[in-house]
């Protein structure tokens, strides 16, 4: 079950002609796919594409009715490989994943797919995770399109433009026998808006119908000698066909006056930011009228030389607005203009940063700089020659506002694993540790500070390979999540460690889902999924590839046990990789499942026990060692009102879900006796109430007895 349910929104996918769709970008794209008559869809989750995968999963019934196949692929490479269905058959297909990481994984399949080319339209929808809030390394996907000769679509970020380009993208793909990449930036995926819907189209043929009449055409297989011919075919036939199609159907757009001394060439995805910057300069309206000519590239690869030259001709200067590096578009435009012997000056990264996101102020500054040089008369005097210094002193010192990095959620089952690891490290000394991709990578940040590298999904243990010789000193420790394990970690990391007789320790963090991407089910998920086969044991898989030393822990919150197991793995005499499978359900997903159930029991008067933790303020001495071993958001600090104390004490707020990590850590690390758990039984039975009454009555008498011998104060010492 995914983190976010789209069951309600999915109803919008049934809309037909004449109706208006209103919702998020990613849902609109799904609708456009159905209107384009796709025969099959798939992909791999990861922000900002997770929501699209969740929409597809929630829409499975509707898609089955339409005859559309949906697959949750094993990886981005597997997803791209699925597009092979479009190679020989006139089937439209689309897969989605995040980029650039997903495209890196997919590039093998993409290169093969691109070489032979396709018959049916093949589309890869990528969520470009670049800029603020991104969880990954910063790169752009443009180079992949260039090297494989596939076409890169980059629509203006509004629902009508985006959905229209989906249909046009399939047509372009078919007209040029080339797969296309549909690039959506992270905010565009989540932009809320509306567009006029069309009717969904049944694929014809369907995948099942196509399969019934198998086809093969050697010319479309990437194998010599066809591969040499395909390399030429890409350039001599498909590329010109793409340029002709783009021109004929007007995929790129021109706005603003026909004649002006300057103009802007921009990626479609930059359009709204450029417009807003122009508005701030008084050169455009909210409705999109602009005084500066814009050439908007909804297709950023390939460029259409005739269009570029036509736009630049008779202009003094053109600014290329291209987010990220390298500046492929700017370089290509410069070359085109140079070869066409035009005098137009092409500028770009002189005014806008080579690296980093083009935010509102960056864009405005870049445009202002360009206009000051080439069209100063378009700027107001204040902008032309500003009096104020460019960089006013910061209003708040940077340190006045503390950074707020992400971390494990309240009750996260991965927290106790990391606490135990930290305790083992305190015992054994520092350990060479590698991380992987997934929530568990938060351990690399404070307060755990565990691990020094993350090399990619399923590659955590693989990245410790150089340190894995037996007898080479203290063992290495690697983390890998269940998501990474099934993505490719089983082969890349585990089997290969067996093969190389690696001596390291591998902790498999099993939280029952691909949790970091939003809680999608995977092979080892414990849930019954009506359309997928789940509940496949990680332990069996690990043993199946030859790991001898395997420990399964079914409650990661048992910190002493967790600690003892890691300690044993780090020190045992057994040869070969040591694998600990640490399993507990992702708390975010568990709470989503159990909270309504609890509410129902409360309403119906059924007995229900809810645990929550507390800290004895008087017992806590304010050292915060517990926090350094936990980082739980609900374990926080509280100022005491006691003038004798200098430091705030630990405090557990109302959001505690009673996972027990803090108490377990206090036990395992022998920290302090401040923690207690209160199990509140709602709607208790008469017996339970009676037993408590008796206990409490005797206890109260004893308490009275002791306090009578003690000096009493107005307020309690605690």
């Amino acid at each position: 079950m995914a983190e976010r349910s789209f069951k309600k929104e999915v109803e919008q996918l049934r809309l037909g002609e004449g109706e208006t769709f209103s919702g998020e970008g990613i849902l609109a794209i799904t609708k456009a796919l159905l209107e384009s008559g796709v025969a099959y869809v798939g992909g791999y989750q990861g922000a900002p594409i997770s929501a699209l995968m969740d929409v597809l999963a929630d829409a499975e019934e509707l898609m089955t009715d339409l005859g559309v196949e949906f697959r949750a692929n094993a990886s981005e490479a597997a997803a791209t490989a699925m597009l092979a269905a479009s190679v020989h058959y006139p089937l439209r297909g689309a897969v989605a994943f995040k980029s650039p990481v997903g495209m890196n994984v997919a590039s093998d399949a993409l290169a093969n797919l691109a070489s032979g080319g396709v018959t049916g339209g093949a589309m890869i929808i990528i969520g470009e995770d670049y800029g603020e809030g991104s969880a990954i390394m910063q790169e752009r996907v443009h180079a992949f399109a260039m090297k494989s000769q596939v076409w890169l679509l980059d629509p203006r970020p509004n629902l009508p433009s985006m959905t229209k380009l989906v249909g046009q993208g399939f047509e372009l793909s078919e007209a040029t026998e080339t797969p296309v990449i549909f690039e959506l930036r992270i905010r565009a995926c989540h932009v809320h808006g509306s567009f006029e819907a069309g009717n969904n189209r049944r694929p014809s043929p369907t995948a099942a119908q196509a399969k019934a009449k198998p086809r093969r055409d050697l010319a479309k297989v990437a194998i010599p000698p066809a591969a040499y011919q395909q390399e030429k075919d890409k350039i001599e036939r498909r590329l010109p066909a793409a340029r002709a199609f783009i021109q004929e159907y007007g995929l790129n757009e021109v706005f603003g006056p026909r004649e002006a001394p300057i103009g802007l060439v921009l990626q479609g995805g930059m359009y709204n930011q450029v417009l807003r910057a122009l508005q701030h300069l008084g050169l455009a309206t909210l409705d999109g009228e602009t005084d500066v000519p814009l050439y908007v590239l909804n297709v950023t690869y390939p460029l259409v030389p005739e269009e570029v030259i036509d736009f630049a001709r008779d202009k003094d200067a053109v600014l290329v607005i291209e987010e990220g590096q390298p500046n492929h578009i700017e370089e290509a435009v410069t070359t085109l203009i140079h070869k066409a012997r035009l005098a137009t000056r092409i500028e770009g990264k002189e005014h806008l940063p080579m690296a980093g996101e083009y935010t509102g102020s960056v864009m405005k500054e870049g445009l202002t700089g360009f206009l000051r040089v080439h069209a100063a008369d378009m700027l107001t005097p204040a902008l032309r020659a500003p009096n104020v210094p460019d960089d006013p002193p910061p209003i708040l010192r940077p340190l006045a506002v503390p950074a707020r990095p992400p971390g494990f959620c309240i009750g996260c089952p991965e927290r106790p694993i990391m606490a135990a690891t930290k305790l083992v490290q305190e015992d054994l000394g520092d350990i060479q540790m590698s991380g992987d991709i997934g929530c568990h990578l938060f351990a690399i940040l404070p307060p755990f500070n565990l691990g020094g590298t993350t090399m990619g999904y399923g590659l955590g243990p693989a990245s410790n390979a150089a340190f894995s010789a037996a007898g080479s000193g203290r063992r290495t420790l690697s983390f890998m999540g269940d998501g990474g394990f099934w993505h490719n970690g089983l082969s890349s990391s585990i089997s290969n460690a067996v093969f190389n007789k690696s001596d390291g320790v591998i902790v498999l963090v099993d939280n029952y889902y691909s949790a970091a991407t939003g809680g999608q089910d995977i092979l080892s998920s414990r849930a019954d999924n009506p359309t997928k086969s789940t509940q496949h044991s990680l332990e069996k898989a690990v043993r199946g590839v030859g790991v001898e030393w395997v420990r399964q822990i079914d409650r990661t919150y048992d910190v002493p046990k967790m600690k003892a197991t890691i300690h044993e793995a780090m020190t045992t005499d057994v040869e070969g990789p040591k694998v600990i499978i640490a399993s507990s359900e992702c708390m975010l997903n568990r709470e989503r499942r159990e909270r309504p159930e609890r509410a129902r029991k409360l309403r119906n008067g059924e007995s229900l026990t809810v645990p929550r933790f507390g800290v004895d303020e008087a017992v806590c001495t304010g050292d915060h060692a517990c926090i350094r071993l936990s980082g739980c958001p609900s374990l926080t600090l509280k100022e005491t009102k006691d003038p004798l104390r200098d430091d705030p004490v630990a405090h557990i707020d109302q959001d505690c879900v009673g996972c027990g990590t803090c108490g377990e850590v206090a036990d395992a690390a022998v920290l302090c006796p401040s923690f207690y758990r209160v199990d509140v039984e709602h709607n208790p039975s008469a017996i339970s109430r009676y037993a408590q009454n008796i206990s409490h009555r005797i206890i109260a008498a004893l308490q009275r007895r002791r306090s009578s011998g003690r000096v009493q104060f107005d307020t309690d010492a605690a």
């Binding site: 005084d291 378009m378 209003i395 494990f408 302090c672 509140v680 010492a717």
Partner: protein, 506 residues
């Protein structure tokens, strides 16, 4: 004027065209997305185009999040909305936590010519603040005043408290406050219709109404008393001795005395006052004696098994837990204590003579530890568990005879002697010696680490003693020891001092 200038002059700013932009800053999990959805619904139901965006991903896991909304009156063509806020052009900023409001100011999206700032002034501490062994919380004053200085209008109050008090959620309170601010061109009824359609319970409607009616208030903080304003009763026996203390020392001595008597008995209180009076006599001003009164009380009330058992078996604790966890309803509940006393703590609780013999033998110590050192879960509000703790707490009548007490008293006398030795020549430095007691806290390893830091600080004080800036250095040592657990900062400070001390006298 050129042709283009004339065109430019016709263009209004986005806001003049009816655009209203809103940015919502929250901590992941606070419901920024819910509020965003409410605002979009409100705008679309009332003749406006609306667009919202956000950056999902890891920030939703407890990090800082930003949602952005733009709305504009309906027109023939849909407006071109921006996908992110531009500095200096945001009309409404809603921040669900004090430092997130500060972050909005830092990002430049709160400006005095335009922005209405709606902010909750409660704190959700960051991990960086919480993890410091001492007090790492960032001073809120700078942000507090920036919220008022930098915005055109500010509505700042504790939205989280209002949400808890009404049983609702902070996103609902923010929506109510937004309605009440009248920053958007929609009336109360329009807001209420959206609220009605989205309310999960009556609590949401109540929270909305209360936030709507709220008058803008300035940021206010609960006063934390630094002295005792109410004179405690039960100290009659000490009335005479307390009144003999200087005004600057008396409140702290009263607080200390109260803690001491509560910890042990009247006689222990007399011992304590002996020490305080001694300090008053030796110190030139009240600062030294006040610090001494504070830290002597803390040192004398060391945390041992008896004290923990005592605190955990008190009626007042039972009442507090019942109040906090059952909220006046009538469920049953069980309180489970997470205890892990080590062999050392058991030995410390033995009579001094016996314990010292065990303490001398490593083998005996190891054996005791092997048998006794394990985690113990005790249900303290059921008879069995309670009686065990109650019996341990009852042992405090013999506390003075126990090994731990002897150890603590030895420590106190060394500490006191050093401070008294220095106070005549350098009262400020002596005060820092006294304050270094603060470093000793916690249990087990934490306690051992704190003691180690204390020893290093005292060693450092030995190095700088006699210098004019000795007290400043001592303060630096203590701050360094509290700043990080590893003690690296403290070692660094000590190395610096050794560097110039070795060179010779200044």
């Amino acid at each position: 004027m050129t042709r283009l200038d004339r065109i430019a002059a016709r263009r209004g700013t986005p806001q003049e065209s009816g655009l209203i932009s809103l940015a919502i800053l929250a901590v992941g999990g606070q419901g920024g997305g819910v509020l965003t959805k409410l605002i979009v619904e409100l705008a679309e139901a009332n003749g406006y185009f609306a667009q919202s965006t956000y950056v999902p991903g890891v920030a939703q896991r407890t990090g800082a999040t930003l949602y952005y909304v733009e709305i504009a009156p309906r027109r023939s063509v849909p407006p071109v909305f921006s996908l992110m806020p531009s500095e200096g052009h945001v009309d409404v900023v809603i921040a669900a936590e004090l430092m997130e409001a500060g972050r909005a100011v830092q990002r430049g999206i709160v400006t005095s010519d335009r922005t209405l700032l709606l902010a909750s002034n409660h704190r959700i501490l960051t991990i960086g603040e919480k993890a410091v062994p001492g007090d790492g919380t960032v001073e809120p004053d700078e942000v507090q005043s920036a919220l008022f200085d930098e915005a055109k209008r500010s509505i700042v109050f504790d939205m989280q408290r209002m949400a808890s008090e009404t049983g609702s959620h902070i996103s609902t309170v923010m929506f109510g406050a937004l309605a009440g601010s009248q920053a958007l061109p929609f009336d109360r009824a329009a807001f209420e219709r959206v609220m009605q359609a989205n309310a999960r319970s009556d609590a949401d409607l109540l929270a909305f109404a209360r936030a709507y009616d709220l008058k803008p208030v300035s940021g206010q903080k609960d006063e934390i008393p630094t002295g005792l304003s109410v004179k405690p009763s039960g100290l009659d026996a000490f009335e005479h001795r307390l009144s003999g203390l200087p005004d600057s020392v008396r409140p702290m001595a009263e607080a200390g005395l109260k803690k001491i008597v509560d910890y042990q008995d009247i006689a222990y209180g007399e011992e304590y006052l002996d020490g305080v009076e001694d300090a008053v006599e030796r110190g030139r001003d009240g600062t030294f004696a006040e610090a001494f009164a504070k830290h002597l009380a803390n040192a004398m009330c060391y945390m041992d098994i008896l004290r923990v058992a005592d605190l955990k078996t008190r009626a007042s604790r039972f009442a507090r837990i019942e109040q906090e966890f059952t909220k006046g309803a009538t469920p049953t509940y069980r309180v489970t204590e997470f205890l892990h006393p080590r062999g050392e703590e058991f030995i410390a609780t033995l009579p001094a003579g016996l314990a010292e013999r065990i303490d001398r033998s490593e083998r005996a110590k190891r054996m005791v530890d092997r048998i006794l050192n394990k985690g113990r879960r005790i249900t303290s509000n059921r008879l069995g568990g309670f009686l065990a703790l109650y019996a341990i707490a009852g042992m405090s009548v013999w506390r003075r005879k126990l090994f731990r007490h002897r150890q603590e008293m030895r420590w106190i006398s060394r500490w006191r002697d050093l401070a008294f030795d220095i106070v005549a020549e350098d009262p400020a430095l002596a005060t820092e010696v006294v304050r270094a007691q603060r470093l000793i806290k916690g249990y087990g390893d934490t306690h051992a680490r704190g003691s180690g830091h204390y020893d290093k600080v005292i060693e450092g004080i030995g190095l700088v003693r006699g210098r004019a800036d000795a007290a400043d250095w001592a303060r630096r040592f203590i701050a360094a020891a509290l700043a990080d657990e590893s003690g690296a900062a403290l070692d660094g400070a000590l190395a610096t001092v050794r560097g110039f001390v070795d060179v010779g006298p200044q």
